[in-house]
Protein backbone atom coordinates (compact mmCIF):
# COMPACT_ATOMS: atom_id res chain seq x y z
CA UNK A 1 0.00 0.00 0.00
CA UNK A 2 0.94 3.66 -0.17
CA UNK A 3 3.38 4.98 2.38
CA UNK A 4 3.53 8.36 4.08
CA UNK A 5 3.71 11.14 1.52
CA UNK A 6 4.82 14.73 1.99
CA UNK A 7 4.59 17.80 -0.18
CA UNK A 8 6.30 19.75 -1.46
CA UNK A 9 9.52 17.77 -1.71
CA UNK A 10 11.53 20.97 -1.69
CA UNK A 11 10.56 24.52 -0.79
CA UNK A 12 12.60 27.68 -1.11
CA UNK A 13 11.19 30.77 0.54
CA UNK A 14 12.29 34.25 1.44
CA UNK A 15 12.90 35.23 5.04
CA UNK A 16 9.73 36.56 6.60
CA UNK A 17 7.32 34.58 4.43
CA UNK A 18 4.90 31.95 5.75
CA UNK A 19 5.11 28.34 4.56
CA UNK A 20 2.82 25.32 4.79
CA UNK A 21 4.10 21.77 4.66
CA UNK A 22 1.76 18.86 4.09
CA UNK A 23 1.77 15.27 5.32
CA UNK A 24 -0.50 12.45 4.15
CA UNK A 25 -0.25 9.55 6.60
CA UNK A 26 -0.84 5.91 5.84
CA UNK A 27 -4.57 5.20 5.75
CA UNK A 28 -5.82 3.97 9.11
CA UNK A 29 -2.90 5.33 11.09
CA UNK A 30 -4.22 7.26 14.06
CA UNK A 31 -0.93 8.71 15.29
CA UNK A 32 1.06 11.32 13.38
CA UNK A 33 4.40 12.93 14.26
CA UNK A 34 6.40 15.85 12.89
CA UNK A 35 10.20 16.01 13.25
CA UNK A 36 12.81 18.52 12.11
CA UNK A 37 16.26 17.54 10.86
CA UNK A 38 18.84 20.27 10.57
CA UNK A 39 21.83 19.70 8.30
CA UNK A 40 24.11 17.02 9.73
CA UNK A 41 21.93 16.53 12.79
CA UNK A 42 19.53 13.97 14.17
CA UNK A 43 15.78 14.41 14.13
CA UNK A 44 14.11 16.67 16.69
CA UNK A 45 10.52 16.00 17.74
CA UNK A 46 8.12 18.87 17.03
CA UNK A 47 4.51 17.77 17.55
CA UNK A 48 2.37 14.64 17.86
CA UNK A 49 -1.30 13.95 17.10
CA UNK A 50 -3.29 10.96 18.32
CA UNK A 51 -6.86 10.65 17.11
CA UNK A 52 -9.05 13.38 18.56
CA UNK A 53 -6.88 13.95 21.62
CA UNK A 54 -5.17 17.26 22.23
CA UNK A 55 -1.83 17.27 20.38
CA UNK A 56 1.50 17.15 22.20
CA UNK A 57 3.11 20.43 21.14
CA UNK A 58 6.04 20.21 23.53
CA UNK A 59 8.66 20.16 20.76
CA UNK A 60 7.59 23.26 18.84
CA UNK A 61 10.54 25.67 18.99
CA UNK A 62 8.54 28.92 18.94
CA UNK A 63 5.04 30.32 18.50
CA UNK A 64 5.82 30.81 14.80
CA UNK A 65 5.33 27.06 14.41
CA UNK A 66 1.88 25.47 14.41
CA UNK A 67 0.30 22.32 13.06
CA UNK A 68 -3.17 21.02 12.39
CA UNK A 69 -4.66 17.65 11.66
CA UNK A 70 -8.21 16.94 10.58
CA UNK A 71 -9.38 13.72 12.17
CA UNK A 72 -7.03 10.93 11.20
CA UNK A 73 -6.05 12.33 7.83
CA UNK A 74 -3.84 15.03 6.43
CA UNK A 75 -1.70 17.25 8.61
CA UNK A 76 -0.19 20.63 7.80
CA UNK A 77 2.78 22.22 9.53
CA UNK A 78 2.83 26.01 9.25
CA UNK A 79 5.83 28.20 9.87
CA UNK A 80 5.09 31.92 10.04
CA UNK A 81 7.63 34.67 9.38
CA UNK A 82 10.30 32.18 8.42
CA UNK A 83 13.87 32.69 9.61
CA UNK A 84 17.11 31.31 8.18
CA UNK A 85 17.45 28.98 11.16
CA UNK A 86 14.22 27.30 10.07
CA UNK A 87 16.08 25.81 7.09
CA UNK A 88 15.93 22.04 7.58
CA UNK A 89 14.25 18.87 6.41
CA UNK A 90 10.83 18.40 7.97
CA UNK A 91 9.84 14.75 8.32
CA UNK A 92 6.45 13.33 9.08
CA UNK A 93 5.75 9.87 10.47
CA UNK A 94 2.58 7.92 11.17
CA UNK A 95 1.76 4.80 13.15
CA UNK A 96 -1.25 2.59 13.79
CA UNK A 97 -1.44 3.78 17.36
CA UNK A 98 0.44 5.77 19.92
CA UNK A 99 1.62 2.86 22.02
CA UNK A 100 5.32 2.17 22.02
CA UNK A 101 4.89 -1.16 20.26
CA UNK A 102 3.73 0.56 17.09
CA UNK A 103 6.34 1.28 14.44
CA UNK A 104 6.56 4.81 13.06
CA UNK A 105 6.66 4.97 9.26
CA UNK A 106 8.40 8.01 7.87
CA UNK A 107 7.74 10.07 4.79
CA UNK A 108 10.52 11.35 2.51
CA UNK A 109 10.48 14.79 4.09
CA UNK A 110 10.26 18.37 2.83
CA UNK A 111 13.54 20.25 2.47
CA UNK A 112 12.91 23.88 3.45
CA UNK A 113 15.43 26.53 2.49
CA UNK A 114 14.97 30.06 3.79
CA UNK A 115 16.98 32.65 1.88
Amino acid sequence: GAGVSQSPSNKVTEKGKDVELRCDPISGHTALYWYRQRLGQGLEFLIYFQGNSAPDKSGLPSDRFSAERTGESVSTLTIQRTQQEDSAVYLCASSLGSGSSYEQYFGPGTRLTVT
Partner: protein, 115 residues
Protein backbone atom coordinates in the same frame (compact mmCIF):
# COMPACT_ATOMS: atom_id res chain seq x y z
CA UNK B 1 15.07 14.38 30.06
CA UNK B 2 16.37 11.55 27.97
CA UNK B 3 19.37 12.00 25.70
CA UNK B 4 21.01 9.86 23.03
CA UNK B 5 24.66 10.19 22.05
CA UNK B 6 26.46 8.80 19.02
CA UNK B 7 30.15 9.57 19.34
CA UNK B 8 31.21 8.43 15.86
CA UNK B 9 30.27 11.02 13.21
CA UNK B 10 31.75 8.80 10.46
CA UNK B 11 32.69 5.17 10.09
CA UNK B 12 34.07 3.17 7.20
CA UNK B 13 34.03 -0.56 6.49
CA UNK B 14 35.29 -2.81 3.75
CA UNK B 15 32.66 -4.74 1.84
CA UNK B 16 31.97 -8.15 3.46
CA UNK B 17 33.57 -7.05 6.73
CA UNK B 18 31.90 -6.32 10.06
CA UNK B 19 31.41 -2.90 11.61
CA UNK B 20 30.02 -1.75 14.96
CA UNK B 21 28.30 1.59 15.51
CA UNK B 22 28.15 2.95 19.05
CA UNK B 23 25.29 4.56 20.93
CA UNK B 24 24.84 5.56 24.54
CA UNK B 25 21.78 7.05 26.17
CA UNK B 26 20.73 8.59 29.43
CA UNK B 27 17.40 7.98 31.14
CA UNK B 28 15.92 7.48 34.57
CA UNK B 29 13.16 5.28 33.17
CA UNK B 30 13.21 1.52 33.51
CA UNK B 31 10.92 0.66 30.61
CA UNK B 32 11.69 1.95 27.15
CA UNK B 33 12.54 0.98 23.58
CA UNK B 34 15.69 1.53 21.56
CA UNK B 35 15.97 1.66 17.79
CA UNK B 36 18.45 1.90 14.96
CA UNK B 37 17.26 3.71 11.84
CA UNK B 38 18.97 3.93 8.47
CA UNK B 39 18.69 7.07 6.35
CA UNK B 40 19.99 6.79 2.78
CA UNK B 41 20.41 9.90 0.57
CA UNK B 42 16.73 9.61 -0.35
CA UNK B 43 16.00 10.89 3.22
CA UNK B 44 13.61 7.99 3.87
CA UNK B 45 14.04 6.76 7.46
CA UNK B 46 14.07 2.97 7.55
CA UNK B 47 13.78 0.97 10.76
CA UNK B 48 16.69 -1.46 11.00
CA UNK B 49 16.19 -3.06 14.41
CA UNK B 50 14.46 -2.47 17.74
CA UNK B 51 15.10 -3.59 21.29
CA UNK B 52 12.72 -3.64 24.25
CA UNK B 53 14.52 -2.71 27.45
CA UNK B 54 12.80 -5.44 29.45
CA UNK B 55 14.25 -8.13 27.18
CA UNK B 56 17.70 -9.35 28.09
CA UNK B 57 18.23 -11.09 24.78
CA UNK B 58 19.87 -8.95 22.12
CA UNK B 59 17.75 -8.33 19.02
CA UNK B 60 18.88 -9.71 15.66
CA UNK B 61 17.61 -9.06 12.13
CA UNK B 62 19.54 -11.00 9.51
CA UNK B 63 22.97 -9.29 9.22
CA UNK B 64 22.11 -6.70 11.87
CA UNK B 65 22.41 -7.32 15.59
CA UNK B 66 22.66 -5.21 18.70
CA UNK B 67 24.66 -5.35 21.91
CA UNK B 68 22.32 -3.97 24.56
CA UNK B 69 23.95 -3.24 27.91
CA UNK B 70 21.18 -1.82 30.10
CA UNK B 71 23.31 -1.07 33.15
CA UNK B 72 25.86 0.75 31.04
CA UNK B 73 23.11 2.41 28.95
CA UNK B 74 24.82 1.30 25.80
CA UNK B 75 23.20 0.11 22.57
CA UNK B 76 25.59 -0.67 19.72
CA UNK B 77 24.71 -1.94 16.25
CA UNK B 78 26.76 -4.61 14.53
CA UNK B 79 26.52 -5.02 10.77
CA UNK B 80 27.99 -8.28 9.49
CA UNK B 81 28.99 -9.04 5.90
CA UNK B 82 28.67 -5.36 4.99
CA UNK B 83 27.19 -4.58 1.59
CA UNK B 84 27.46 -1.50 -0.60
CA UNK B 85 23.76 -0.86 0.03
CA UNK B 86 24.44 -0.49 3.75
CA UNK B 87 26.09 2.89 3.11
CA UNK B 88 23.89 5.52 4.79
CA UNK B 89 23.40 7.62 7.90
CA UNK B 90 22.51 5.52 10.93
CA UNK B 91 20.59 6.96 13.83
CA UNK B 92 20.12 5.53 17.28
CA UNK B 93 16.80 6.46 18.89
CA UNK B 94 15.06 6.15 22.27
CA UNK B 95 11.36 5.92 22.99
CA UNK B 96 9.62 5.81 26.36
CA UNK B 97 7.20 2.99 26.99
CA UNK B 98 3.52 3.81 27.18
CA UNK B 99 1.50 6.30 25.21
CA UNK B 100 2.84 9.18 23.17
CA UNK B 101 5.89 7.55 21.74
CA UNK B 102 7.96 10.41 20.38
CA UNK B 103 11.43 9.31 19.30
CA UNK B 104 14.59 10.94 20.66
CA UNK B 105 17.46 10.66 18.20
CA UNK B 106 21.23 10.75 18.37
CA UNK B 107 23.28 12.87 15.99
CA UNK B 108 23.91 10.04 13.58
CA UNK B 109 26.86 8.10 12.17
CA UNK B 110 27.64 8.22 8.48
CA UNK B 111 28.70 4.78 7.30
CA UNK B 112 30.62 4.33 4.08
CA UNK B 113 31.27 0.91 2.54
CA UNK B 114 34.37 0.42 0.41
CA UNK B 115 34.29 -2.11 -2.42
Amino acid sequence: AQTVTQSQPEMSVQEAETVTLSCTYDTSESDYYLFWYKQPPSRQMILVIRQEAYKQQNATENRFSVNFQKAAKSFSLKISDSQLGDAAMYFCAYRSAGQGGKLIFGQGTELSVKP
